[in-house]
Symmetry: D2
Subunit: 424 residues, 4 copies
């Protein structure tokens, strides 16, 4: 039976997104509607004023691309399977906490969860679960697929459509973030990627003919990382919000979250207002609202070989220790020094670990139609160089302490080279 | 002395917006930064998911266009005058309450103010005033200019740049709303309007050669009105928020606003969270968060000749009376019937009265360079027909009462014709 | 059997145009490939330098839209029927002569044909005919459909998809001409039109919900007409080329065209080079190549009631007579005066007669799903006013005779009003 | 004295290009107007149907960017200097032969000239020279500047604005070629490059903060090279046209070109028509017009270390020798084998040698405002890897000989690896 369509949703990127009656019912649940109040790029709006888009339009876009890709794959997926994939794509971000990735270290620390865990939890135990079942879907299955952990041994591609180095999630946010920031790095021809994708031994793979697009896509991700997600100002705001969240964690009741509903009651609006009311966090929020932001006093880039060093810094105790050391040398309070490392749990940078693009399978189609697997890094020197890139360490402090903290950080981490700058 | 530039701000519409040191200082004040948390189109995001842009990027864009127009006018404005105009454009919306125009009837009812009054008040009595004075500006003058009430008898155009039928405010929001909604009506060549503008007897005027663009601009405004601002779903959400605001007005303390700071403490985040906490308004907000929206049970279009009738409906007492009458006939509670009229004070539609485009002066330049004033409506039949357009009356109710309320409304207002539909 | 796809063609407007093996074979024939050397807008590049697009990309785009519309119509057209419609759309312009519409009066005068006649002739008697038959198509049927003259009494919509007031041909050129000229009037949401179309009594009809888009579409056509197709400079170049063609008609052998192949041997390149070599036409082409263009000495707009007058001027003998009269009064040679009227056979304006939009059927869908036919002009005052618009008369001459000819034309046609200007 | 503006030209990329009275006079000369009939990307339209843009709009765009950059450079160039730079940018391509770079080997072989030589010649000895002098310009100086050979020892940047690795010429064609092909690689934020440029020791340099944009720009150039300029189909058409030109060189009278006027009489229209008429070249042109193109039978990529090998192949005698050898082995006629190497004089690839980006000076601005020169390749691993990229060798033949020629080529050049494919 062919799908029953409800109608179209207008999207500035893709024009008309056609949705089914089933999708309409799921879109209208509170867990999905809540994403309207969760920003896609918390903090980035301080570098790019127009970056106010939310997870809501992102999940609609991701669902759209998941549908296009599923229909385009030359393996004849059924309407029912495509519907499942689209629903999983729609739900892939329902587990996000307020301020998206920013909240994640608190989830990890106080609940021992990632946002993907929350996505699965909400899909299977909130009103979403009954809504899915009412339409004949297995909410466990959709929940696993939504976070790319279905683990179908013969059909890895099901997970990879939503979660891999070239998944529809990344495709959507690369172009969407570029559209709303105006940053100008993400105008990637993602439809060329989609239309050249195929399945190789159960795995999603890209035709070698799309390597130029793949290179452009990977460079766009890197530049978006530098120019948007890891922009100095973006990170300054994120560090400040994270500090405020830590201060207000009791008032927010993070540790008392026992049901999906308690968790889903939190969104950007509620948390921001709470942080503003609560005495311990109020000052930080006021500073942000008056644009008195932390300043970057020190910045240094590390390459692959320094991974060990970086991973040491991701240990919160070690980091606190060094922050204290820098503070002492600079004669400022310990809390006025913040070390920021991309993959650092305390101020997470979700995308960092995924910059590694080696796991993108590519294939060459011979004249006889046989698909031969290839190593991308052998075919593309650009991809090869992009894969070792980039670890950053920064030290933030208040504007008035900038010089002292810079000098202190230099005695600890060494004097940075000019080329150590990442974003500007 | 030529202006001291601070740097560039990236905007997705205009690329690089260059700002001066002075502008940077004003942008960084709390009253301007607050606009980051005031949506440009409250409610429209329920019809167009990506419509999450804020007043903040709009005022930056308006400042940019004000600068381009000021420099382009062939009357040699000085750098200092251009700076004044740009600052006024930057500040033209600082008086907006949460949810932009939606809040306006409460301002009117409880404070006797419009958002323009608030803009002037904030510009002259908040920290903005001292910031402006510190840079040598007369905050009273900037405040008047920001709301288009400078009233310079010989230079009307100063007010008209910011407030007239073809002002830079409207130019910015027409293209910006289109960009973020994806609605597809607003891709107007506003730079053609700007580059063909001139001053005629102290008044801003458009060269007749730009009439095709002017027609396109005015039609784009009308279609944006129908498709975005007055979309049935947009209005449903707005009516619900307005009801919630009325319920919670004591908790919000609207009547107790005595200082700019009290007023500026309100933004979308704070008010939304308050409405959600407060018992009387909680139910409505929960309904919105679960997308249980009011439904339009009746809709009818009126043309110019019916203005009298419309204006009667804008009287709150009359409207309440008729809502009660319809409710009685439909056997539902009076509060479950909402009459919605564009120019109605209780659910304001700010732009409605400005659809009237007759006051756009146009001129023809003779071979000798003389500019001869023309009547636009004589030159353009399209403009002529656009000017009488459009008054709408709608009756909203809960989904389950739709049929009864429809029938009751028909006995009161008459059976609508098919062509009475406005948005879809 | 589902269609065999050959691959994708990249189009700057629609992204990827997927074509079938059959379409690939037809695209690669000489009659279709020849369209690469026939400009879409001959003459307009002198007003808009980038307007160098050709009929070739236009027919690909038209085929694409025809496919989208055919698939979207809720009447379940078969793959075979959709293929037929796409092929007809692909071929709808193969009959165009060099310089597109510009050549048309010569076709009429010396061969008694229109470009549609030529399209049918070429489709049924050139190599296209055998190519179509080889793939199992009836070339007569495709030929008729390509020019909208299939005349299927129960399925008028087949003709209307390709030839009506809102056909895919017009949709494509409105957005394409805007894209390549940059003129800024044609950013119409044509996909909204397509997705809301349906069949009513065998006729293509537009849902009333798309009226705002329809108004935008019709205004875009009007403004494109004024700003591009009937731009003074565009017309000046067109008049000059037409004069050159008349001079060189023997050398071009227009009257000796007996086979499709002779006709297809003519393209912009060949004809331009011939005009440049041939003594009688050389001067005109040299003038164009040095941008010494005719100037418009007189311009006047006429409305519906003056149709009679306009139609008199379309009579070549009458026009020649009046040109002579003006020339005598201005004391210049008769050949130095050119009267230009949009619908004039000697300098045709193809689109003019189609500005009439009354024949666009619209319908309203009731709750029970019934479609009720509506009169568009009753529903839309904008459409109503657009329909009576616009007839223009202009008199062109050499730059140095401008004043004399202006005065002479004024004694004949009356002094124009300022609002008589059309393009600028 | 401030510049006298004539008006605006509409460009689809930059909107309104404002031009001076002087520029208007130069634009209207025959040498500039002729560029309307010289395609920017001859041959590429067979891979991208909409790639029909010409040198004319490119030189207008280049002039525009030259103006923006000149005004933006913080060294206070005078209006007169900016006018000179804009004029040079406008004229930088007047020396192009028909089919742009395609014709170049014939210029080299029969006249011993490059298109830059021709640009200088035409600027100084055609009507352009007197037009420039009439407005007070030194045509020799403009001519040198137009080809980047002014050689001002203290102001290298004057040449570099128009001719260097990040000149305005390349900026314009990267975005323009992308716009018209739709290829999707060239949406580069060129204005970020322009606004961050400065002068360092008389040399044009880019601020390190723009390195992400620089990387994007350089990758865009590389991908445009692979996907557009060196697309297999593009090159097939180019090889065919070049063969036709060689055949028809006597008829075209290339060796008899003695005056600028003789040269300027050649354009795409004239040459195409001539090739079509002339017996020796007719067959090739007919093949193109029926899309019977040469096919690539062999392709291999070479990296930097193979430069020697590549340069051997650029020797025409050597190449002819090897073509003969392959032909003999494949048992086909020698003329049916074409070896194609990017930097090969006989089928030139102008951009190839410039892929080398090492000469882009970058600088870091210290807090004290001092600009410190940097090595780009040390700062950017991406740039470092892009610089050694890419040499290609291909062997083309007729479709029916493909297999034999492939095998023969493999015995000569070795069996290619899968990763040897460049475009697809």
């Amino acid at each position: 039976m062919s799908p029953q369509y409800w109608g179209f949703i207008k999207d500035p990127l893709y024009g008309y997104i056609r949705i089914t009656e089933i999708e309409k019912r799921i879109v209208d649940t509170q867990p999905v509607q809540r994403l309207r109040r969760i920003r896609q790029l918390s903090g980035a709006e301080y570098a790019y004023p127009a970056a106010n888009h939310t997870r809501f339009e992102h999940v609609l876009g991701t669902m759209y691309l998941a549908g296009i890709l599923s229909q385009s794959l030359p393996i004849g997926l059924s309407d029912q399977e495509i519907q499942r994939i689209r629903l999983a794509a729609l739900l892939h971000d329902v587990g996000h906490a307020p301020f998206s990735h920013l909240f994640e270290p608190l989830l990890a620390k106080y609940l021992g969860k990632t946002h993907e865990d929350m996505t699965f939890w909400i899909t299977t135990e909130s009103e979403l679960s009954s809504a899915l079942r009412a339409d004949g879907f297995d909410s466990e299955e959709i929940g696993k697929l939504a976070v790319g952990r279905l683990g179908d041994l013969h059909r890895h591609f099901l997970d990879q459509i939503i979660r891999s180095s070239v998944d529809v999630d990344k495709m959507d946010f690369i172009v969407r973030d570029s559209y709303h920031t105006g940053a100008g790095y993400g105008y990637v021809d993602i439809f060329r990627l989609i239309y050249t994708m195929d399945i190789l031994d159960g795995t999603l793979a890209v035709d070698v003919t799309a390597i130029p697009t793949l290179e452009t896509f990977l460079l766009a991700r890197l530049e978006s990382f530098r120019a948007i997600y890891f922009h100095r100002v973006t990170r300054a705001v994120q560090i400040m919000i994270l500090k405020a969240l830590e201060q207000a964690k009791d008032d927010l009741g993070i540790e008392r979250i026992k049901t999906p509903e308690t968790y889903l009651a939190l969104d950007d609006y509620v948390v921001w207002s709470t942080l503003k009311r609560y005495k311990k966090s109020r000052g930080i929020i006021q500073d942000i609202e008056q644009r008195k932001l932390l300043k970057c006093a020190y910045e240094r880039t590390f390459f692959a070989k320094d991974e060990l060093f970086t991973s040491v810094l991701t240990n919160e105790a070690v980091r606190k220790q060094i922050e204290g050391e820098i503070a002492t040398k600079a004669k400022v309070a310990s809390e006025d020094v913040s070390i920021d490392v991309p993959s650092l749990p305390s101020v997470p940078y979700h995308y960092a670990v995924e910059i590694e693009p080696m796991d993108i399978p590519v294939f060459f189609k011979t004249k006889s139609g046989e698909k031969v697997s290839q190593r991308l890094t052998e075919l593309s020197k650009v991809v090869d160089v992009l894969k070792v890139f980039m670890n950053v360490i920064r030290v933030y402090t208040k504007e008035s302490y900038r010089n002292e903290v810079m000098k202190a950080a230099e005695t600890v981490f060494g004097k940075p080279q000019l080329h150590d700058q990442v974003s500007y």
